[in-house]
Symmetry: C2
Subunit: 343 residues, 2 copies
DNA sequence: CTGTTAGCGCATTCAC
DNA sequence: GTGAATGCGCTAACAG
């Protein structure tokens, strides 16, 4: 039994005494030969242990790979750690699985898209990758690109209406023109700094999700009659405990102390709540806090967090669908306010 | 500016007036030409917008893809949901990232590895895939295979010493020859049934992790002087809340009621604790419970769980290293007992 | 150090 | 329906 021979289309065709094209057609273009002949050939192949055309060669020839690269905002580690990101991946995976497309995990701190772009049909990009050079590369690639939670030029994308959502949640938090406001922004600047921001005129436009939310906050602030110049703004450059805590501490220690803390992620908001509790200040009586994202943990905090919930899994599903359907438009998905006790 | 021309190695060589081999060498074999010449060529390529040899073609030629498929035990969804699995993925990813190898997520419920096997350098397989046909396919493939938490013939693998670990934890739980024991096994049988098992002679050998643990339990049971025939055994076919609860309820309602519950996963054990609490029975006075895995949640349960901790991230790292190093042996990694209050 | 040649495994013409 | 030829984009072996 020729168990350990490696067949190729050519060798199997010769073995069966038919032409290459016939074998190829038997596998890929059933209409090109009689059903009977096709069955015979397929049966023989199976018996001989030939599983079908080599996919790598097939892809080179056709230019179709059935693989999409999921560009993560950060390292792979981040994805598994972050509940919001995980849900997104889950959504993407479910749709791709149905379409028999494979999922390649691509770290957002990779240097270059080139290492995979010849291998994939395109990219689904979740949030702005940590290595910002990737953005430029994604802009230039000829491969299909769908982004979620940020935009690259004319590419397809999916997100909630960040500006309106931000405005809505900020309005809940701000209750008087005399409020002292602190905004804890996530990746407001294209820098690795966690710092206070005094000049808001040159905020990074590329990280447009932060930008959009900030516009929303500003709108709410202005409508409430608060002077923008008196609002404190801090930048958290990465959504993790370490940097969030740093910014939270800085914001809470600034004088005069804010009584409204508007956070661009629930993670930041939860850490703010912890710190405020530890300082013996009561929420929402003395300080009001709002978040953004609607992660499960925000339902279990003390007090529970008022925030914007977005359905990450749905976002993943939509992103994958846009990809599969070769869409080129931007799609907004719904969000809703979660009314907690923090404001 | 020829921005939108798609260069190939051949076309760029012609453009530069050199041979294909020279361009190829400039990118892939620096020793084959003078540094100066190489720099010139690379510079010209960059200027013209040629990023280097097409990876797909390169791979077809070399038979090397720099992609490994991570075969998950179940759908991708499962990976993101299960904390133990997530840690494993994280470990694998960190090593692969360092080696510039990409990670393809491959669902354990896929029908056939053929869809990717021509694309990858091999497989890292985490636990027994839900679709058991994949096991046979992995056994037959010529690609590299590393398994974790189970074995396929002669392939490389990594796991803890399940038998001894199981024996150790069971010994902690069993304290008298008169103990009434219930074993809640995970995938003891190759069936989708969640059921009580009466005949242990034909347990599925393929799911060898369960098998090894069961051997360990048996050893402890025998050494304690308990009649194996009086031990109740239930099979949970999938490590999730639904099926675990089903088995737990069945086990707790069986007469005579067991006073020792030995669980093959922490998830099962935690659910057992919940049910026992709800029944108003005290742990560990009236019933003792032990788990397996050492997930974080087991440290927060009431009472805390006595279990075997295994370092999943390390397991992932080891698995990836075995892969990268083309190892062919089995590697055991350490485990340790977590002493909780449940026994 | 450079250029030529022959495939890697396949799909698509185009004649027959 | 079939079979030969051409090329997807590249690398390795060899000759110069």
């Amino acid at each position: 039994m020729p168990e350990n021979k490696t067949w190729t289309l050519k060798s199997i065709a010769k073995m069966l005494g038919v032409s290459n094209a016939t074998v190829s057609n038997a596998f890929s273009r059933p209409d090109q030969l009689s059903a009977k002949r096709r069955q015979e050939i397929l049966a023989s192949c199976k018996e001989l242990g030939y599983a079908g055309p080599n996919k790598a060669a097939q892809s080179l020839r056709k230019g179709l790979f059935n693989i999409v690269a999921l560009v993560l905002p950060d390292s792979v580690e981040y994805m598994v750690t972050d509940p919001v990101a995980s849900k997104f991946v889950q959504g993407v995976a479910s749709v791709l699985e149905k379409n028999k497309v494979n999922l390649l995990l691509f770290s957002g701190i990779s240097e270059n898209i080139n290492s995979v772009s010849d291998f994939v049909d395109g990219f689904i990009c979740y949030g702005s990758p940590r290595n910002t050079e990737l953005i430029e590369q994604l802009r230039l690639t000829r491969k299909k690109v769908v982004t979620a939670d940020f935009d690259i030029d004319r590419k397809a994308s999916v997100s909630i209406d960040n500006e309106n959502a931000a405005c809505e949640i900020a309005k809940l938090a701000i209750q008087s023109p005399d409020d002292k406001i602190a905004v804890l922004g996530l990746r407001l600047l294209d820098t690795e700094l966690t710092c206070r921001v005094y000049d808001t005129s040159n905020l990074d436009i590329d990280c447009s999700i932060a930008h959009q939310r900030f516009i929303g906050y500003k709108k709410a602030i202005e409508q409430a009659g608060v002077q923008l110049s008196s609002v404190g703004i801090w930048n958290v450059h990465e959504n993790n405990h370490h940097f969030a805590l740093m910014a939270v501490k800085a914001a809470l220690n600034a004088k005069p102390r804010a009584n409204v803390i508007i956070c661009m992620s629930d993670l930041i908001a939860l850490i703010a709540l912890q710190e405020i509790n530890a300082m013996g200040i009561s929420v929402p009586q003395d300080i009001r806090v709002v978040g953004f994202d609607g992660i499960d943990e925000a339902l279990r905090s003390t007090p529970t967090l008022t925030t914007i919930h977005q359905n990450s899994e749905e976002k993943g599903i939509k992103a994958a669908e846009l990809f599969i359907n070769k869409a080129t438009h931007t799609e907004k998905i719904p969000y809703h306010v979660v009314y907690g006790k923090s404001c």
